[in-house]
Each structure stands twice: as C-alpha cells, then as structure tokens.
Amino acid sequence: MSVERLVGSVQTVPILPASGRDPLGPSPAAGFAESLGRLVGSVEATNQQANRAVAGMVDGTGDVHDAMIALQRADLTLQLTVQVRNKLVQAYQEIMRMPV
C-alpha cells in the first residue's frame, strides 16, 4: 500500500460523523464477520510473503534472515487469528449454555 494513499485516507476521515454516532463504536455494516475476514486475509497475505521470501532464499535472490522473519510474521499473524477465533467460539458457546 502506498504511504500517500494511507495519509490521504487518514486525513479525509471526519473526526465526528454527521450522524453524531461515536466514531469508535461499531458501525452497523462492519460486523465481526468482516473483521475476522480481514484477519484471515492478512494471514493469507503474510503467508504469501513468506512463500515468496523462502522461494527467493532458495533461488539465491533473497536473504536467509528475510525468509525467517517472513515465516515468523506469518506464524504470529496466524496465531493471532486463531486466538480471535477461539475467543469467538468461546463466547458463542457461553451464550448457547445460557438457560432460557
């Protein structure tokens, strides 16, 4: 992602939306499923980076440490995603056990 684009998007976000809704509160459209989807997407992205780095190391264009760091990054992102998923399932089961 280019930095200019990031800065641009940061500057155009209004501090308070016109509706007066809390900007940090959940927006109606972006649910938990979407953020979980984004997390899975970042796992996929770091995985591909790790694959590229290892391929680069094998064919001699990349460094060993770059490949290892990419692998670690992919591993940590996966762990984070698994933790978030565990918490989600845990919360779901908690609610399912609730007597009605």
Binding site: V3, V7, D63, L76, T77, Q79, N86, K87
Partner: protein
C-alpha cells in the same frame, strides 16, 4: 500486527546492512593480494557507508517518529596509497621491478568482520526478543 512490525523491519534492515559489511570485509580479505582488477590497477580496499532511514510504518505515515532502520548508502573505495613490493619477476611489476599491491590490511579486515558479525548477532537478538514479546502478548488470550 502493526505495532511491533516497524521494529522488526528496522532490525531486518540492520541484518541486511551488517551482511553487506561482512561481504565487503570478506571481499577485501580475498583480494588482499590481487594485483589487477577490472581497470588493470591493483584492487582497492572497499568500505561500506551506512545511512539511517525511517521505516515505512503507520507512525511514519502520520509524520510521527517511528522505528528508524539503516540502509547501505554506498560502497566507497579506500583512497589510501597501494602497498609496493619489490618483485621484478612478477608480470605486473613496473619498470623498476615494484609490484603494486592492494591497500588491504588483513588484521583490520578481521576486526571489521568480527564487529559486523557481533552487530548482526545483536540484531538477531533484538528480533527474537520482539518475537517473544508478541508471543507473550498473544498468550494473554489463552486463559
């Protein structure tokens, strides 16, 4: 994982820079006796010039000071005069019988190499520390 990623990138740039220092020191050692290079002159000792460079991160995009990495700015040739040795039978000897040898001091290169290797190790230690910190933070979720 945006928070410690910039620190990881800075350490990775340090690893790349130290690897280049080791590469250059090894080239100097290997060519300590090379009497002809690409230009026909004796090999000249090379030196790495390092420059700091802010890591592209969320902080730097917002104009805040974030992690600062390092990059190899250039590789320069040492302009010290070449060593001369009397050896009239050598094919590269001049008309007085002296051969021009590279301005490489093997002891100095060894010291450079050890210092670069130690710096590389220091960066590796920093990376494994950052990895451990992220992992410990993730352990907050298990419980």
């Amino acid at each position: 994982m945006p928070t410690l990623n910039a620190a990881l990138d800075a350490s990775a740039s340090g690893l790349a820079a130290e690897r280049m220092r080791i590469e250059v020191a090894v080239s100097n050692l290997a060519n300590a006796e090379s009497t002809r290079g690409a230009d026909g002159r004796p090999y000249r000792r090379r030196d790495v010039v390092l420059a700091s460079q802010p890591v592209e991160s969320f902080d730097s995009a917002l104009g805040r000071t974030g992690a600062v990495g390092v990059r190899v700015a250039s590789i320069v040739e040492d302009q010290a005069p070449e060593r001369r040795r009397y050896e009239p039978s050598h094919p590269d000897a001049d008309k007085d019988g002296y051969v021009g040898l590279p301005n490489v001091d093997p002891a100095e290169e060894m010291v450079d190499m050890v210092s670069a290797a130690r710096a590389y190790q220091a960066n590796l230690t920093a990376i494994s520390l950052i990895r451990d910190l992220i992992q410990r933070a993730l352990e907050l979720g298990r419980g």
